[in-house]
Symmetry: C2
Subunit: 257 residues, 2 copies
């Protein structure tokens, strides 16, 4: 039977990240629970990106192998009834049996939101990183430009990431001021793949340079030195959004049309 | 001693509205608790608009009479430490002893958010009214224009509103598509004062006309007939935001500058 491919959006504020854990509420754990409420034969839900605790997603992609014949629309309605309000199924399609979306991701887009505000804003609480420091956006943009291209990003990862190949390609890295909420800055980065904590280290470094806490040129220095200490703060998880994942396959029977 | 004037923002999702109630979590109840944690001599917090359960505010205005000498900045910091994340003090100033902001409100602005989406969106859950019906914005705009001016809005209120004078002045009523999130429509209405449920009845009626459920001209018919039945649905509370209140006085010593 064909595998089911889901696009999932979630507010990660109250969850311990994507990956299932014993004794913790996780996105994949809630999703598997909802799928198994409909089809108890399902053993696992395979995600594409293991987002950290507090990180949000507008389009995580996940797949599972059903044991019951249910249409994509049927899955969408059934899962909507089972899932908590913070997790939503945005689309459902079918792909080949056993499909593992991690092996088919060719491009990812992340967004990091920075709120410039002197006092708390309940509508951005846990959804943007608040700072009251003046930020020089030109400096942040110059650092962002230095990221674009194919580089060894060894410096740009958590010590928990032990992968050998640290060469990645960044296609674009831009800062914009949101039109409807000009107190919010959005940093958008598109690349083929990312190391662990890479986007949060980049966002924290660019904000550190923009507020004058780190000398301009930090990105270039770290690309040359491969030293994490040439970079800045790891920005907090709650400002990060997994915005989009491009796969090298197109699912069938997609709901909604 | 001068009264303290607060501008308060809140996500009303989890609260039973502004006005204090026994055995229910309310915004004014939380605020009074926070103020009394700092100054136990305070007896009441006087709000300007009694927002309903689920309604949000970006700038509710409230006042209280302190018994301790604390600067506006001192109040801001102390209350920030006491209040839950959904309630934030945006500014603090001082006004005349005994000041009642209800008597000094000369203009209010409300915003109603409509999300056009086929599936749930966790980032707008409880913060916008979701509909999957196609909406004709030209029809909604024509109804909105009919509201502008000084009219007897007797039809535009809940049966729980028993006030005798139902003449109000609407200065503007407009629909816009948000730039950053074009799936969200914002209805903005500015007036001198509003009847109970008036903005929610207006928003529901305009959406009913825009989706073809109610014949165009509903606003004009209800202004002439004074009959609630000529209007549409009362839109749900969770799409409504109290955006701004203009007072006829300017507070002193305002924090932040």
């Amino acid at each position: 039977m064909a595998a089911v491919l889901l696009t999932v959006a979630y507010d990660g504020s109250l969850y311990s990240g994507w990956a299932p854990q014993a004794n913790a509420r996780t996105i994949a754990g809630e999703l598997l629970g909802a799928v198994r409420a409909v089809d108890p034969g399902v053993r696992e839900v395979r995600g594409t990106s293991r987002t950290d605790a507090g990180v949000h997603a507008r389009c995580q992609i996940a797949a599972f192998d059903p044991t019951r014949e249910i249409t994509p629309r049927g899955w969408a309605l059934a899962l909507a009834a089972e899932l908590p309000a913070e997790i939503a199924i945005r689309s459902v399609g079918t792909v080949a049996d056993g499909f593992d979306p991690r092996r088919h991701a060719v491009r990812k887009r992340y967004r990091y939101l920075v709120l410039r505000d002197e006092s708390r804003d309940p509508f951005h609480e846990r959804r943007a990183w608040r700072t009251f420091h003046p930020l020089d956006l030109d400096l942040a943009r110059a650092e962002a430009e230095a990221l674009v291209g194919t580089h060894d990003f060894m410096a740009f990862r958590s010590v928990r990431d032990q992968r050998v190949d640290t060469v990645r390609t960044i296609e674009s890295a831009t800062w914009t001021t949101l039109q409807d909420t000009p107190q919010v800055l959005a940093f958008d980065i598109v690349g083929t793949a990312f190391l662990y904590n890479m986007v949060r280290i980049i966002a924290g470094t660019l904000v550190d340079v923009a507020r004058g806490r780190l000398a301009p040129g930090a990105v270039a220095r770290a690309l040359a030195s491969h030293e994490r200490r040439d970079l800045g703060t790891t920005a907090p998880a709650h400002g990060l959004y997994l915005e989009r994942i491009d796969l090298d396959v197109v699912p069938d029977d997609v709901w909604p049309l």
